[in-house]
């Protein structure tokens, strides 16, 4: 349970300036690990993606994955970093069974990318520039399962089980410089920053970027200093904050916890802390090791990475548009309301809507298809909308037929169902299912006259000016036409015939 006393958030901000620093680990989606040819794969049977290199067996030698280096450089460039002419790997020595080598191969004083910055816009429209100190390459560690403790945690555990499938998976660690001046927005900024990193690496397709799978993980440093003070306060590093909501909550909690201690004249212990999302508090972990304790030294088994300008520029030129800039551009091009646009973004449908618009549909029609009918179908069949067997081009083609009056909305949904069922292109589905709007007005008029004759009371009401009574006749006519008529035209014709 949380035992910490907390100062109210408002009081904390009145007395202290908040300084945050964020370390984000991005797991790359290369086919293989950083230093060996084992598959980089989530969910395999334990210890089946391992070899002498990633198990750290004697005599094995690492070999650097070129694609991982390129992805790392691309991430650096996307964050406005410079790429180091020489980057070197280093051993970070520590004893813990999550890596069997007793060191993690990382980078120390010669990271591949450094000195970048990224502008983060909050929901309020306020924006902050976050300076990136460095982005370096390293390897992920294995996964420990603690057995015997009541809660599956280390306390009370009898032993631990280790799966090294994740050991050696390429990581890029992105470290910010201390961020000042965010004030009460610091927690929101921390989360928005991590979201921006996630969006960027996702748009670049260098990571699967699924936070729930740990593809993007964040350690949040928080320190406070008395307003007006020069010297930075002692910081804590909160680990285990792996959802955007957790990041915001954990930073806010640390602000309040530290503020209480400092306001009582106490001191902050430099340590790692662990966020417990279920109960909403942080608890003390181990005292933070000094960098010296890791006894970093250059990895003697690997040679430096020295990218030339041509290589760097070819990677830079292949970078996709920044996701935040793209969202701005699309929202203004499409003229969506804030709410409509957020709906598209949150449903992860930007690509689909953009491609549908490119194929000729209006932005509003494209949006309605993807966030409406198609989202409904995907939801009903419990699959990702991106897995639906329909292309943006097909959706646009169907919309064109609606616009031309060749399909009613109802018929269009049937065409979509046919395409999803694998009946072929929209034209083929229309042909096969005999879907065609009845434009033969003679047939419509005949059906209307017949329906009116059967319902003389309705006819009487319409003649008295109660036009809403026409609804009953529309239904009958649409039924006679097997739904393949334009309901608006049917209504017009009913009123004409009734009053003729």
């Amino acid at each position: 349970m949380a035992k910490d006393n907390l100062l109210s958030y408002e009081a904390a901000l009145e007395q202290f300036e908040v300084v945050i620093g964020l370390e984000v680990h991005v797991e790359l989606n290369t086919k293989t690990k950083m230093f060996c040819g084992c598959a980089n794969e989530f969910g395999s049977e334990p210890n089946t993606n391992v070899c002498p290199v990633c198990l750290g067996l004697p005599g094995s030698l690492p070999a650097v994955n070129k694609k991982a280096v390129e992805s790392s450089m691309a991430i650096g460039l996307a964050l406005g970093c410079k790429i180091a002419p020489t980057g070197r790997f280093a051993r970070k020595n520590y004893f813990y069974p999550d890596l069997s080598k007793n060191f993690q191969t990382s980078q120390y004083d010669e990271p591949i990318a450094y000195d970048g910055e990224i502008t983060i816009e909050l929901d309020s429209g306020e924006s902050f520039v976050v300076q990136i100190e460095r982005a370096h390459m390293e390897e992920d560690a294995g996964k420990l399962t603690h057995v015997g403790g009541a809660t599956g945690r280390i306390q009370g555990a009898e032993y631990s089980l280790v799966d090294y499938n994740r050991a050696g998976v390429p990581l890029v660690e992105i470290v910010t410089r201390p961020v000042f001046g965010a004030g009460d927005k610091a927690p929101e900024l921390a989360a928005a920053y991590v979201r921006a990193i996630r969006d960027i690496v996702k748009s670049m397709d260098v990571s699967d970027a699924k936070m729930e799978r740990g593809n993007v993980r964040c350690d949040a440093n928080v320190s406070l200093r008395k307003k007006g003070a020069e010297k930075l306060g002692t910081r804590t590093e909160t680990k285990n904050v792996n959802s955007l909501r957790s990041i915001e909550n954990a930073v806010r909690y640390e602000i309040q916890r530290q503020a209480y201690i400092l306001s009582q004249g106490g001191t902050i212990t430099q340590e790692t802390r662990h966020w417990h999302e279920d109960r909403g508090y942080t608890s003390a972990g181990r005292p933070k090791s000094d960098a010296d304790d890791y006894r970093y030294f250059p990895e003697p088994d690997l040679v430096p990475v020295q990218p030339d300008i041509a290589w760097i520029e070819s990677i830079r030129s292949a970078l996709p548009e920044n996701p935040a800039a793209r969202r701005k551009r699309l929202q203004s091009a499409w003229g969506f309301s804030e709410l409509e646009f957020r709906d598209v973004v949150n449903s992860d449908l930007l690509d689909q809507v953009e491609a549908t618009v490119a194929a000729g549909a209006s932005p509003q029609a494209a949006r309605k298809w993807w966030t409406g009918e198609l989202a409904r179908v995907a939801n009903a069949s419990e699959i990702e909308i991106s897995a639906l067997q329909i292309t943006p081009e097909q959706v646009a083609a169907i919309q064109k037929l609606i616009d031309a009056g060749d399909l009613t909305d109802r018929m269009a949904r049937e065409v979509v169902a046919g395409v999803l069922a694998g009946e072929g292109e929209p034209a083929a589905v229309i042909e096969k299912r005999g879907l065609k709007v009845v434009t033969d007005e003679g047939a419509l008029i005949a059906a209307i006259d017949e329906a009116l004759a059967k319902q003389p009371d309705v006819l009487e009401k319409i003649r008295e000016g109660k036009v809403q009574a026409a609804g009953a006749v529309i239904g009958a006519v649409m039924q006679a036409m097997k739904g393949q008529a334009d309901a608006a035209r049917v209504r017009e014709l009913i009123l004409e015939r009734a009053n003729s």
Binding site: P46, T48, Y159, F297
Partner: protein, 98 residues
């Protein structure tokens, strides 16, 4: 003579996960001081224009293509493990990360 305190020795021993007795701490403090001084002498011999070497052969950019190669089987991977369970290496629970 560099000053290596008993506390420094204990700290180093704990980083290296080595159990040392008080008597050993005293002895190692003296020995480590000599070693540190000897390394310092090497530093004096190196002029500023000599770049630190981390690899004996001056080469760079040695890469492997991102192509999957066969891994060990689970039983091969675990064959040298002192203990295993449920397809995993079984180790003593160490209080550290949580």
């Amino acid at each position: 003579m560099s000053e290596i305190t008993p506390d420094t020795v204990r700290h180093l021993a704990s980083l290296a996960r080595i159990l040392v007795t008080d008597a050993e701490v005293e002895k190692l403090a003296g020995e480590l001081a000599v070693i540190v001084d000897s390394v310092a002498k090497v530093n004096q011999a190196v002029s500023k224009d000599v770049v630190a070497t981390s690899h004996p052969i001056p080469m760079a950019n040695v890469f492997r293509e991102d192509v999957v190669r066969p891994s060990l089987s689970q039983s091969q991977a675990l064959s040298a493990a002192p203990d295993s369970a449920e397809g995993r290496f079984r180790v003593a629970a160490i209080l550290d990360e949580e």
